[in-house]
Structures are given as C-alpha cells and as structure tokens.
Assembly symmetry: C2
Homo-oligomer: 246 residues x 2
Amino acid sequence: MRSHSHTANAVTAQSEAYSPCENCNVAGMSLCHALSCEELRELSAISTSLEVGRGVTIINETDPAEYLFNVTAGSVKLFKLLPDGRRQMTGFLFPGDFLGIAMNDLYAYSAEALEDSRLCRFPREKLEGLLNRLPQLEHRLLNMVSHELVLAQDQMLLLGRKTAVEKVSSFLISLVKRAGKPSTERQLVALPMGRSDIGDYLGLTTETVSRTLTNLKKQKIIAIPSGGGIEILDQESLDELAEGLD
Amino acid sequence: MRSHSHTANAVTAQSEAYSPCENCNVAGMSLCHALSCEELRELSAISTSLEVGRGVTIINETDPAEYLFNVTAGSVKLFKLLPDGRRQMTGFLFPGDFLGIAMNDLYAYSAEALEDSRLCRFPREKLEGLLNRLPQLEHRLLNMVSHELVLAQDQMLLLGRKTAVEKVSSFLISLVKRAGKPSTERQLVALPMGRSDIGDYLGLTTETVSRTLTNLKKQKIIAIPSGGGIEILDQESLDELAEGLD
DNA sequence: GCGTCATATTGACCTACATCAAAGACACAC
DNA sequence: GTGTGTCTTTGATGTAGGTCAATATGACGC
C-alpha cells in the first residue's frame, strides 16, 4: 500500500453491523455528536464504515457527489488542481471532520488518505432524507459547515497576505490547536503530511517550507526530531511570528 | 457621507412595518427564499430594514455577533486585517447574500458598504429560535453556507496558486457570473469597488491590478469605459487566461 | 551490513510581483 | 473657470520566494 494514486475502489467496506455508530470512538466534533440514541440508530442504519490505506483516493473533484464522509481515524488531505497540475490543498482532516461538500452535485475537491484511515460513509440522498426528519442533525451540520467557512476565511488571509514565515508559523499553531493541546511547553505535534503537501496548503514550494522550518529551528523556536513531527519549543515567539508582530 | 470609516451607529433603521419581507424584491438567492407565507411572516417579525451609506462600517471583526444580515440592495465588502494593517478581502456581497458568520459569538470579519445599500437585519438569538421551528429556513441557510464554502475553496486555489493575470481574469469572470449574464458578447460589468479593494481580494497590490487590466485592454480582451465598470470583449480568451490555458 | 527509492535539505540563480515615486484623471466645491 | 482630494495609471528599482540542481537523510528490503 505504498504507491500514490489508487482509486476509491481500493477501499475496504464493512457493513454497519460490524462497526455501528454506537461504538464510534470519535470525540466531540463529529457529525453524529449531540444526537439522541434513537437518532444515532437512524444514522447508523444508513452509514458504512470504510478502511482506506495511505495514498488511497477517497473522492475525486468533479465526480458525482454520491456520498458524504466523516473521518473516524487517521487523516485525509483535500485539494483542488489547475489544468496544468498546480495544486492547492484546501484542508487537512482529522477524526471528527467531515468531507463531501458539493457544488451542482459534483464534489468540489479531491480527497486522499494521508495515512491508513477509517471513514464513516453516508449516501447523500439518504442523509438528506434524514436531515428532514432530524433537525438536530441538520443543526449540527450547519454548525460544522459554518466553522469550516470561518477557517477557510482565515486561510484566505494567510494565502493572500502573509509571508512565508508567517504562513509556516500559523500552520504549526493550527496543528497544535487541533491536537487539543495539553498546553505543556515543549509540545510535540505530528505531521502526517509531507513538505510538499504543506507547501501546497500554504501557497509555497517544498523548498521554501523546508528553508523556513530550518530557520525556525536555528532560532530555537522549534525542533525537528528525526522520528518525524515537530516540537514547539517557544510557542510565544511562534504566535508572534504568525501574526507578523516583530 | 464621503469619509472612510463611520461606525455602525450611522446606519438608519426602519421598523419592519415600513419595509416588510413580503415586499422584498430580492431575486432568488436570499435567506428568505423558499419560505411559505406563514414562515415569511414569522421572519418578517424579527427583521429590521437598514439603509447604509457608502463607506459605512456594518460589522467589525471580533465584535460580539449580535446580528445576521441579508443584503437587499447595493453591495458590501468583507475583510480581515492583520495587526500591521495588511488586509484580505474575503468577499464582495450583492443583493441576496448574507453576512454575519461568527466564531465563538464574535464576528469573523468586518463589513463595509461599497455604495449606498440596504440590508435586512436579524437578531442572532431570535433567528436561532426560529431555526428550531422552521426547518425549511435552516435547510436554506445550510445550502447558502455550503455554497459560500465552495466559493471560499475556489478562492484558496486562486490566492495560493494563480498568477496575477489568472487572478484578475478569474475575478472578472466571477463578476460576470454573479451578474446573471444575458450572455451577449460585449458584456458590461459594474465595479463598485476600487482597484485597491480588488487587490486586497486577489492578494495583489493596486498597481499590479491596474497594470494587469491595462494589459488585458491592450490585448483587446476587455475595454475600460470612462464611466467606470469593465466591458468584456473576448470572454473566451478570458476563460482560458483564468485557468492558465495558454 | 548494502542498495534502492522517496523525501528533505541546501545552494546558486532568476523572475513575478512589490515598493517607491511621480504624473494623470476625475469629481466636487466654490 | 480654479483648487483640492482621491483614485488610477505608469515608470524605475528592489526583493521574497520560485526554479533548477546537487546532495543528504531515512525507511525498507535483502
């Protein structure tokens, strides 16, 4: 399971009986959060649990949007492409996040697993039927999409107006926040994505990401342990760098 | 009513009796679209119509998010600022669009009228109460926010990966689309915003926007009539430039 | 151990766009 | 008409980050 672009056919589906929503271990942010037992059971009935290996394509931009997904384990990257191959990441997803937003019934982006991951899959049509009967669910979804939109606007500010250091610092900080920080100094944050994924997320090249990280390392603001991931040594300086305060 | 930053106090409020939703002339995309008469009346009961002059600040980033708004006439710009004053436009709004998305009950961006405009204002608390009773309304809102999110992702691709010509071309095309094109050749599109607003929307400087426009003019792809606005002379070339196909 | 492959880092050079600066082009007041 | 303020255009020059190219590092298989 090493190569770069399998199709969604390669996913492994399990029936909902095997892995029902009741046993779902996703913390607080998932689609199913804040539903009653009865509602959970209804949602469970239309969902399927999927395992996807690292590098597997989950959805393809401009394919018909048949499903919505909820990440339950692992991580996923979302991206859009220009005809000549230039790529823009639109997000990295972790357990609890959803994907499958569409435009005219076509997916608005492609999605690929960053590592071996598990997803919960909902047929769009059936889910929309459920939405009409479970206002709690629709409410939840509205909150999640609104939250996404706010993050997207932050990202526009980053892409349009921040410098390379500011971009990389902001990115590291957002990862720390996502990880639900125990707020100790010397925070270690996992980086399941490669430098070029980060570059395509920040509107930079691989090389610039690399150079910027080694600069931060030289300033003792971060450390780059050989096991992968990044250690935040000086959160305060990083916060200032991210907003251009220096 | 000429200067640059009045506060929201300067807006003129009218009671809902004066300008109720029933008389609202906004086409098809507004919040209130697709509601029954009964529902419209409920919505009308909590809404207030506002007139704001050009340059007036409607909401301020990080202020408590007390209201949601729906643009019914004119146009509005949304933006975020960095501490040192760098600005990123997150959107231009026209009749039918809404604003007031929040994060932790604080507005996620500032909004200012581009020209004399009219808005429909809803107290957030009351609107959320309504949402629980009017699933149609919540459904509508979910669709609008999802649509916004898709556009935001397109904008990320633009900001992170497109060149200046591609950005400006994409921008002009999106304006044509928004205007609901009668699809004649020689399309005239209004530009209520200045060059520097456009620059801050596209992640460019005023000068680069200006230079790029005069280049397009020299290539006979657009014309810049002295009355303001821009005339699209060669839509096809513009489409190709926008996607980097040349 | 060694070889292979993928990804990351570092260096030398280049360019698209920013910055700085100066001149037009309007609009409005008087 | 003339003056004033704002916005746009054009030109000259600078630079952050891109591009091209050469190592370096690490993971895995044998």
